[in-house]
């Protein structure tokens, strides 16, 4: 096969070569991922997966044949939706694309399905609200207790700390970021 340096030179110099090269990678790596996910799903037969995807079995077969299908984003979104996975399409350096390909193994490739994706299904909003609520309550309780102490010692009451709510919000934000 061709030499590495001449290949790189050609890819650097010629846009059409780059397009063809990327197309060749996608033509194999998308079918390989679809096949791997289908075999790991509860629908290892093409016909079963086709039914769930609302597609013809012949179409699934085409998707799994390298180079046969011209995938649109809509098709990929439908497949991802059927698998219960997300889909990431992003522009990357050539080196990153190849690194991903080199590390890709159909035998080990799997993606956590949405129902098992605890990072996604964990109720973050609710959790944040409770963190926020706890923070505000803690700040106000501390203020109230301070005032009670002052009352006992006959020291003038203090107004609520102006930053109490702000601090709670920042605290909740930091925790959210850390999560």
């Amino acid at each position: 096969m061709r030499g590495r340096s001449s290949r790189i030179s050609k890819l650097i110099a010629d846009r059409e070569s780059r397009i063809g090269y990327i197309r060749a990678k996608l033509a194999v790596l998308i079918p390989a991922q679809i096949r791997a996910l289908r075999l790991r799903s509860g629908m290892p037969r093409q016909i079963d997966f086709a039914r769930k995807a609302d597609m013809q079995q012949s179409r699934i077969s085409m998707f799994e044949t390298p180079g046969s299908a011209k995938f649109t984003l809509e098709t990929l979104a439908r497949l991802a939706g059927t698998f219960g996975t997300g889909l990431l399409v992003k522009f990357v350096p050539f080196s990153e694309m190849l690194e991903w390909e080199n590390g890709f193994s159909q035998d080990t490739f799997d993606v956590i399905r949405i129902e098992d994706d605890t990072d996604f299904t964990r109720p973050r909003e609710h959790e944040d609200q409770s963190i926020l609520g706890t923070g505000i309550v803690a700040a106000l309780t501390s203020h109230r207790e301070g005032n009670q102490a002052r009352r006992q010692q006959d020291i003038p009451f203090l107004p609520p700390p102006p930053d109490a709510i702000g601090t709670s919000l920042r605290g909740a934000g930091q925790q959210r970021g850390a999560a």
């Binding site: 096969m1 090269y21 790596l29 079918p31 096949r35 390298p66 159909q106 035998d107």
Partner: protein
């Protein structure tokens, strides 16, 4: 080491590909050279991906041939390139994780081209089983 069970260890690792070369010319290489650069890239990527898959049943693009071809465990790697359904027909070698390519062809309107390629592949597979010239096809491990 009496009563020691014999442990047969298989080499784990990637598949190795070989072109079967019955005569002076490597016809797989001729077929490969006849493909466009894009198609060559696609095939390289396909071989690279399948090389890492333990069971060939799970190879992407693979289909086992039926009928009389089944006896010799003939299969075809299918991919679409250069506006054709390309086919690379092969069989398995005598050693584990060895695949032997026998003939490259394409499929159009229900027929293989060249028309006799399946029978040729069958004949080559039988000859390859008896031992014959093979030439290892290195997979491009990209840049």
């Amino acid at each position: 080491m009496k009563n020691h069970k014999k442990v047969i260890s298989f080499p784990s690792g990637h598949w190795r590909y070989f072109d079967y070369v019955p005569g002076a010319r490597n016809e797989i290489e001729d077929w490969y050279r006849g493909l466009s650069e894009d198609a060559q890239d696609l095939l390289a990527s396909l071989l690279k991906t399948n090389q890492k898959v333990d069971s060939p049943i799970n190879w992407v693009g693979l289909r086992f041939l039926k009928g009389k071809y089944k006896e010799e465990r003939l299969w075809e790697l299918r991919f679409f390139a250069d506006n054709r359904q390309q086919r690379l027909i092969g069989t398995f070698g005598n050693n584990r994780k060895e695949a032997i390519f026998l003939i490259g062809c394409y499929h159009k309107e229900g027929d293989y081209h060249p028309r006799n390629c399946l029978d040729t592949a069958l004949r080559l597979a039988k000859a390859a089983k008896k031992g014959g010239n093979t030439c290892e096809r290195k997979v491009e491990q990209d840049l």
